[in-house]
């Protein structure tokens, strides 16, 4: 009798587990969700979101065009084709709020969705023939070309649904070459070397201080490359299952400038150092100031956006004037949002190219919606007196068309700048 009761109990247990087995036949694939990323993260080094300008020449800092340092061989142009880039990115993170609350820990504040290190290199060969192993692997030399073109795919995992305001790229190291130190007679003293990927290479590390700190940050307390961030990105990740593209842009391409630092050896001796870094469009590079000459941070801007492939349209912008000699872009921001070219990159932008009737540009991959159209161009540069007429690569000047354009999925909307509500005057 006791045995029979036990057997009945056992049969009941097995029935319950059997029913659990049968209950489980509908709903969302949860395991598959982990190996199928919805996100496709693209990192670009361009102002443009599509069709970037080809590589142009380096701009020349004002310290090399006038003053005591504007002499040969210091002001001999560095060719853009001779500039090598070595960029080591630790990861990309997003956060829902713009600033990390005091006392909160980093792991709960940041969503660490792209934590794989990426190394971008112009070459995989260091000094004395040593190979840069991380540059050799994973197609990292070709990736630099993609970074300055249509972007490269950054490995990422999915993000929880929500709105993210802050997007941050943690740049661990950024090196450019050539970097030449001259003696007091302006004869070449040495070609600077630094360490990248555990090997010695020619070049100067821009990330330890040059691009890391703003010249006004005399205490060097606010790093600007670790991370480089945007705090009002307003990225909305929907709670559905649709694959989407997150595009992160850092404006470096066609923003490079030849700089000089008079006390390049960090002594009081005038031993100039010439190197390539981003333009000093935001605050003048104090080339002869012994305390500030090694600080020119804040000149890199970034932005991020998302779109769902297959649910985008484009805007074709036409105008009768021929393409301008300086770098001129067509840019859009979602209608109603404020555009300040000096604080953030436009939502999307493209280069101006020759076409009927005179110039044209197509901004692609725009989610359906209404957009304000801008034309941005480079007409100014920084010198010791502040902003003056000239070129430094950064399109700080802008015209608002004033006629919003509506984009629908799968279609192209066309705008002739002659029909704008506001006459385009600043970027002719």
């Amino acid at each position: 009798m006791k045995n029979k009761k036990t057997v009945t109990r056992i049969i009941k247990f097995i029935s319950i587990t059997g029913l659990t087995f049968l209950y489980t036949c509908t709903g969302t694939p949860v395991l598959s969700d982990l190996v199928n990323s919805r996100i496709s993260l693209i990192l670009k080094g361009t102002y443009e979101t599509n069709d970037p300008y080809p590589q142009g020449s380096l701009y020349m800092d004002d310290a090399l065009t006038s003053g005591t340092l504007a002499v040969a061989p210091l002001n001999t142009s560095i060719l853009s084709s001779d500039v090598n880039y070595f960029i080591d990115i630790a990861g990309i993170r997003v956060a829902k709020s713009s600033t990390q609350p005091t006392g909160s820990d980093s792991s709960s504040y940041w969503s660490m969705f792209a934590e794989e290190r990426q190394v971008l290199c112009s070459t995989a060969t260091g000094l004395a023939g040593y190979q840069l192993l991380d540059c050799l692997s994973d197609n990292n030399v070709a990736k630099l070309g993609q970074f300055f073109g249509e972007g490269f795919q950054y490995k990422a995992v999915d993000l929880p649904a929500g709105t993210y305001q802050r997007v941050a790229v943690f740049i661990r190291k950024m090196v450019t070459s050539p970097a030449t130190l001259y003696d007091t007679n302006f004869a070449v003293k040495e070609n600077l070397t630094t360490i990248f990927d555990n090997r010695t290479i020619n070049g100067i590390n821009l990330s330890d201080e040059i691009l890391q700190y703003n010249p006004s940050d005399t205490l060097k307390s606010t790093p600007l490359l670790f991370p480089l961030d945007v705090k009002n990105a307003h990225i909305v990740i929907p709670g559905d299952n649709k694959p989407y593209v997150m595009e992160v842009r850092i404006f470096m391409h066609n923003l490079m400038m030849q700089h000089v630092i008079s006390n390049g050896s960090k002594t009081t001796a005038i031993e100039p150092l010439t190197f390539a870094a981003v333009s000093d469009w935001q605050a003048n590079h104090a080339a002869t100031d012994i305390t500030k000459s090694f600080s020119m941070g804040g000149n890199l801007l970034m932005n991020a956006r998302i779109y769902v492939p297959g649910n985008t349209g484009s805007i074709i912008i036409n105008e009768s004037a021929a393409p301008a000699a300086n770098k001129t872009y067509y840019a859009v921001v979602p209608s109603g949002t404020t555009f300040d070219p000096k604080t953030t990159l436009p939502y999307a932008a493209t280069s101006q190219s020759a076409g009927a009737p005179g110039s044209t540009g197509t901004i692609k991959n725009l989610p359906p919606g209404t957009y304000d159209i801008y034309k941005t161009c480079d007409t100014k540069r920084m010198d010791t007196t502040g902003e003056v007429a000239g070129f430094d690569g950064f399109p700080e000047t802008f015209d608002n068309c004033g006629t919003p354009v509506t984009v629908t999925a799968g279609a192209s909307s066309t705008l002739d700048l002659a029909t704008c509500a506001t006459v385009i005057t600043l970027c002719p």
Binding site: K2, I16, T24, V30, L31, R38, D240, P243
Partner: protein, 197 residues
């Protein structure tokens, strides 16, 4: 040659078969057990999930009673396992299963069990926080030794097949590749004899 072989076989099995006979002669008596386990859990190496989930910890409870045979036992169990805590991605799996255990009929200091069964698993992923119940297949191996009259201490290794291939990709992501989950849980276990004679 044949004779020699026969002699060896008989020599090996003679004492063994007598043990068997002795074992079977024991009258059947109800021997329920209840236990707990905890230990490392991981997606089976080489599977697609093993590339996104790292080894972490799991633990569970189980109850066991012999069927009207001293060799076969029925087992039910439930556990809570977390996979992958290194990056952003994480998977929580809570299987409930029923299984038939085969106890190797040898008299030795250690008991050996081979198990097979089925059930359902509640799964929840991060960061998306999607959850579902999935049909689950279960195979296990266990070895334990009695530490006194009441307690057994042992080691168990459980394999779970979480079957997901019957599900369709979501309508808004028809390209999603559907996979099954393969997990291996290894645990130190402690169980007690509820009705020790």
């Amino acid at each position: 040659m044949k004779k020699v072989l026969l002699f060896i076989i008989v020599t090996i099995f003679l004492p063994y078969s007598s043990l068997w006979a002795q074992y079977e002669l024991k009258s059947w008596s109800f021997q329920p057990q209840a236990g707990v386990w905890f230990g490392p859990v991981a997606a089976v190496p080489g599977t697609e999930l093993s590339r996104v989930l790292s080894t972490y910890l799991g633990g569970g409870i189980f109850g066991r009673a012999n069927l009207p045979s001293n060799m076969f036992h029925s087992e039910v169990g439930a556990s809570y396992n977390v996979y992958g805590r290194v990056g952003q991605e994480k998977l929580q799996v809570s299987p409930i299963y029923g299984a038939i255990d085969f106890k190797l009929p040898i008299e030795f200091a250690l008991n050996f069990y081979f198990k097979g069964g089925a059930g359902g698993s509640y799964v929840k992923n991060s960061p998306e926080n999607h959850s579902n119940w999935l049909p689950t297949g279960f195979f296990g191996f266990e070895t334990s030794f009695p530490a006194g009259k009441w307690v057994n201490i042992g080691l168990r290794a459980d394999y779970y097949l979480l079957y997901e291939k019957h599900l369709k990709p979501p309508v808004d992501n028809p390209g999603m590749k559907i996979i099954n989950g393969h997990f291996i849980n290894i645990g130190l276990m402690l169980n007690v004899n509820i009705l020790a004679d």
